[in-house]
């Protein structure tokens, strides 16, 4: 039994979640007064950011931080455990959400959006919970919180396009979480525990074949969540349907949670089974890296094309999971951070482009450079960042991943390095083609003239520009990021500090 009350300072671990959930409830209560709800949501997210900055600094100084609910000792009570990666990603998620909320004010138009803020706060709660939880079943619950909030956001407004997209998104994601639950049941049956730190401790002694099978089901479930190549069908079918701000939020948060869960379950929880699955991971990483940007080249709908670029980024994270050296894991973590910022920004810019041209298909766009040079610069910088051109943020994780794959030596390392480079070139081709079609060529006959810069969209421009500025600044001064990686990545490869933080250190019973 836990007899002592948790120290006041440790509450910073669950405070972001409590704030988000309370904020969502308040937003529902106050829904008649839209302005009040907006101010309240912005304040709640600002408070969440403040908590997470404190949490990040604390974890950076003192190592992983853990808190267990309801008097039960760790393997039985539900633990929340923040390592440096989880704390960093949840901070990034909150910052992205804040900027998207600001953007949405300029972009919402006259559509119906009752309960938008409540659902965004619930989505943020689900994402933060998934990053900070230390218990696999709890992770499942946060996945479902995230899923139900994203359902609501996806159909907000109820246009036929959105309903069609939601059917595909809903069925495939619900199936993925069912597979996750299936793997959980088997894991509980064979290990008798679902606490992550406890699994790290007892998994090496367990039946290798059973663990391998469970890891394969987890790979299937999280692969579906993360839109890894053969399982990516739902993403380009759904991400272009809701308003741009909501697409941006999904792109920044949802697949990243899936791929982080994959990183954690493969590299940290079941490393022996990961070794068994390594050829599969290498093949998946290469297929995702190569095929996704080809999809982007062949696509003419702007936001669907960006969706394919997003899937390519998931492939880059998979490279880090396939090569779990210090460089590989750091590269995967930094890539997730980079993709959270860049993909959100890219969708936000796409929203501004769609608003200016009144079209969603690049075939109907053109000549936007004349109407808005700043918009073209924002888009171009983001394309370079996504492709990984130095000195932008996207370059650093790709450098780490290339180092990891070349340092590994074997045939798989060489293949992955090749796939990473080809992916960068293809992404550059796809992105610059989009740029040329939207901005550079003359407008096609009969296209409506672009209208840029009504007062209402300035918050949209401001939020997008701020995000791009953040990406450029993080690329120019990456030292702080590298210091966080140097402290955080070893904890993933050797989870002894994590296990100690939960209070489960010592021999296996």
């Amino acid at each position: 039994m836990i007899e002592s009350v948790t120290a006041a300072g440790d509450w910073v671990l669950v405070l972001p979640l409590a704030l988000c959930l309370l904020g969502a409830a308040l937003a529902l209560i106050l829904r008649r007064d839209r302005a009040l709800v907006l101010v309240m949501s912005l304040l709640v997210i600002a408070a969440v950011i403040a908590c997470e900055v404190v949490l990040l600094l604390r974890v950076y100084e003192a190592g992983p931080l853990s808190m267990t609910m309801g008097k039960w000792l760790p393997p039985f009570g539900i633990s929340f455990t923040a390592d440096l990666f989880g704390a960093g990603f949840s901070l990034t998620a909150a910052v992205v959400t804040l900027l998207v909320l600001v953007y949405y004010e300029g972009d919402r138009g006259s559509g119906l959006d009752v309960n938008f803020h409540a659902m965004v706060l619930l989505l943020l709660a689900g994402v933060t919970g998934s990053f900070l939880t230390g218990d696999l079943f709890n992770l499942y619950v946060w996945f479902e919180v995230m899923l139900i909030a994203s359902f609501g956001l996806l159909v907000l407004g109820g246009r036929p396009l959105q309903l069609d997209a939601a059917v595909k998104y809903g069925f495939l994601n619900f199936l993925a979480t069912s597979f996750f639950l299936l793997a959980l049941g088997l894991l509980y049956g064979s290990l008798g525990t679902l606490n992550m730190a406890d699994i790290m401790r007892v998994a090496p002694q367990a039946n290798m074949a059973a663990m391998g099978g469970i890891a394969a089901i987890l790979l299937l479930a999280f692969g579906m969540k993360a839109a890894v190549f053969p399982l990516n069908g739902w993403l380009p079918a759904s991400y272009h349907a809701p308003p741009p701000a909501i697409s941006a939020l999904f792109a920044g948060l949802l697949t990243k949670v899936g791929v982080f869960a994959l990183l954690k379950s493969m590299v940290v929880l079941l490393p022996a089974s990961r070794d068994l699955l390594e050829p599969v991971l290498v093949a998946l990483a290469m297929a995702t890296l190569l095929i996704a940007p080809l999809g982007a080249i062949a696509e003419t709908n702007l936001r669907r094309a960006i969706g394919f670029l997003l899937i390519g980024g998931v492939g880059a994270v998979l490279v880090g999971i396939a090569l779990p050296s210090l460089d590989g894991v750091s590269g995967a973590g930094l890539y997730i951070f980079h993709a959270m910022l860049s993909m959100t920004a890219l969708y936000l810019v796409a929203g501004l482009i769609e608003r200016a041209t009144g079209a969603t298909d690049t075939r109907a766009m053109g000549g936007l450079y004349a109407a808005s040079a700043p918009l073209s610069i924002l888009f171009f910088v983001l394309i370079l960042a996504v492709a990984g051109v130095p000195p932008l943020l996207g370059f650093w994780p790709k450098l780490l991943l290339l180092q990891a794959s070349l340092g590994q030596g074997g045939w798989s390392g060489g293949l992955l390095a090749g796939a990473l480079v080809v992916n960068a070139v293809l992404t550059l081709i796809a992105g610059s083609r989009l740029w040329a079609h939207i901005f550079w060529r003359a407008a096609p006959d009969g296209a409506a003239p672009a209208v840029v810069g009504s007062v209402a969209v300035w918050t949209g421009y401001g939020a997008t520009a701020l995000l791009v500025l953040l990406i450029v600044a993080a690329g120019l001064w990456p030292n702080a990021l590298f210091e966080i990686l140097a402290k955080g990545a070893p904890d993933l490869l050797d989870p002894s500090r994590y296990v100690t933080a939960v209070g489960l250190a010592g021999g296996v019973p």
């Binding site: 159909v155 036929p160 309903l163 069912s178 509980y188 759904s238 080249i297 075939r363 083609r433």
Partner: protein, 125 residues
């Protein structure tokens, strides 16, 4: 008893996946429910089946004497049932709305988000 339940779980999952492979949205939905119940039954089976005492610890003791049933799988399944039911009801309403506005319950004819006969991408640049 475990073996019988294991076979039953297999049957549930086979039926669920068979229904999910269908094109009709309602059949897919039923498939998801059957699959989800198969998973719940699996957790129930994996959590050690026993006819021993109920998991109630007498007052004054820190742990029970002798074998008792495992209460945790029931908590897990209860959570999963509630979540699964919420998802099911949402998807049911969604399927109905989609049927109303798209006039289709066949996934082959639901192509608003992904048009089938879209022209080729432009060849310039």
């Amino acid at each position: 008893m475990d073996q019988v339940l294991a076979v039953l779980v297999g049957c549930f999952m086979a039926v669920g996946i068979y229904l999910l492979l269908s094109r009709s949205v309602i059949r897919m939905l039923l498939g998801l429910v059957v699959f989800g119940n198969g998973v719940n039954l699996l957790i129930f089976t994996a959590g050690r089946l026993t006819r021993a005492a109920a998991p109630i610890i007498p007052a004054g003791l820190a742990q029970a004497e002798g074998p008792m049933a495992n209460p945790l799988p029931q908590a897990l399944i209860l959570t999963a049932i509630v979540i699964g039911f919420a998802m099911f009801s949402f998807l049911l309403v969604l399927a109905y709305r989609a049927y109303q506005s798209l006039d289709a319950d066949d996934t082959d004819t639901m192509r608003v988000a992904e048009p089938v006969d879209a022209p080729n991408p432009p060849l310039s640049y």
